[in-house]
């Protein structure tokens, strides 16, 4: 009888250990995390508009009034320049690394003149740029990426149906391009 008790006790220790291992290692191999889903949307350096229903990659707007566009990028070769402008009541952008940790986020109130103008790059790229800042980057917000790959989520709000069109225009004209100095 005592032996079966010890067998169960050993099993419980094993269960606790397994629990810790699963919890700590799960983020590395779920294959369902936000970064993987956004990569599955399509090519890099392109904003993809999401709909209210879940798409093939498993992403949706998630809120009836929010309109979302996502872009995955890689700053290994060149920094990525995020641009957008338009007349919307609210917009916000969040830049995440490939582990879905927030690197940077801002909204239209903290922007220069209400337009989105953010450049994400590695620390060496940004140091090079700062040494001789091109004219078109004078007012750009520079964001340093610790790891080269990541994704950006651009959101705007359509509080009433009449805002739908301007929200769609804002998102579809948004840019997520590699920045190259001439």
């Amino acid at each position: 009888m005592l032996r079966i008790f010890f067998a169960v006790l050993t099993g419980l220790f094993g269960a606790a250990l397994l629990h810790l291992i699963i919890i700590l290692s799960l983020p590395h191999f779920t294959g369902k995390d936000a970064a993987t889903r956004i990569e599955a949307e399509g090519d890099l350096n392109n904003f993809y508009l999401l709909t209210d229903a879940y798409d093939d990659a498993g992403l949706a707007n998630g809120d009836p009034f929010v309109r979302t566009a996502v872009c995955s990028f890689d700053v290994e070769d060149a920094p990525v320049h995020f641009t957008a402008k338009g007349k919307v009541p609210f917009w916000s952008i969040a830049i995440y690394d490939s582990a879905s940790n927030e690197v940077f986020s801002m909204n239209d109130r903290t922007s220069v003149g209400g337009a989105l103008d953010v450049l994400a790059g590695g620390s060496i790229q940004l140091t090079d740029l700062r040494k001789n800042l091109p004219q078109e980057l004078q007012q750009t917000i520079l964001v340093e990426m610790a790891r080269p790959d990541g994704y950006a989520v651009l959101r705007t709000l359509a509080p009433q149906t009449s805002f739908d069109e301007s929200a769609r225009n804002f998102l579809s004209e948004a840019g997520c391009e590699q920045f190259t100095t001439r």
Binding site: T10, A15, I23, G62, F90, A94
Partner: protein, 195 residues
């Protein structure tokens, strides 16, 4: 003579079965520690950051949701009313009061996964700070019920439990723990069934 292999079998079943089951349970039951609770409303302001605890990181990696950055907004979810009873589509509820300061907010009825609930077309399932009707002191009162109500009304799904999701956009509360002192709207049950 087969008792020793039996003990090993018991150990392995308890270890693997128990370990996997408590892990799945833990990931479904909570989004991690670090929640702030204001009445019935619950939010996870650090869920998207690198400081999130391992449970939160596992949960978000498995759910794969696009989380709001700290300058974007903060999502509050209510799955119980102020008395702690689970929100049920068979009952009627009222949300009254004010939200913490925010540029905009949205409120919608959600299923148990936090996605907008499937609703008959044409029924209002969402409100925001621009469309809500307010009292002279700018507070509001929203009726949530299956039957139509005058004033602010949110429809409910056919049956079963549901959640309410209130998202504050561009709110100073997202970046600080000062949210503890702030008042969220009250969520009270006004009746069930035909009573």
């Amino acid at each position: 003579m087969f008792r020793f292999p039996l003990f090993i079998l018991v150990t392995l079943i308890v270890a693997f079965g128990g370990g996997i089951m408590i892990t799945l349970y833990a990931l479904d039951a909570t989004q991690g520690f670090g929640a702030i609770k204001l009445g019935a409303w619950e939010a996870f302001p650090a869920l998207q950051t690198v400081d999130a605890d391992p449970y939160a990181k596992s949960h978000r990696a498995r759910a794969g949701k696009l989380l709001y950055g700290s300058a974007e907004g903060l999502t509050f979810t209510a799955s119980v009313d102020d008395e702690g009873a689970r929100l049920n589509a068979g009952c009627r509820y009222r949300i009254s009061g004010q939200t913490p300061p925010a540029r905009l907010w949205t409120l919608f009825t959600a299923d148990n996964g936090g996605n907008p609930a499937a609703m008959k077309p044409g029924l209002p399932s969402a409100l925001n700070s621009w469309t809500v009707l307010r009292q002279p002191d700018s507070s509001f009162s929203i009726e949530i019920s299956a039957g139509a109500q005058p004033g602010n009304w949110l429809a409910l799904p056919q049956a079963g439990t549901f959640r309410l999701v209130l998202t504050l956009f561009d709110t100073p509360t997202a970046g600080s723990s000062g949210v503890i002192d702030l008042a969220m709207p009250k969520l009270t049950k006004t009746g069930c069934g035909n009573a």
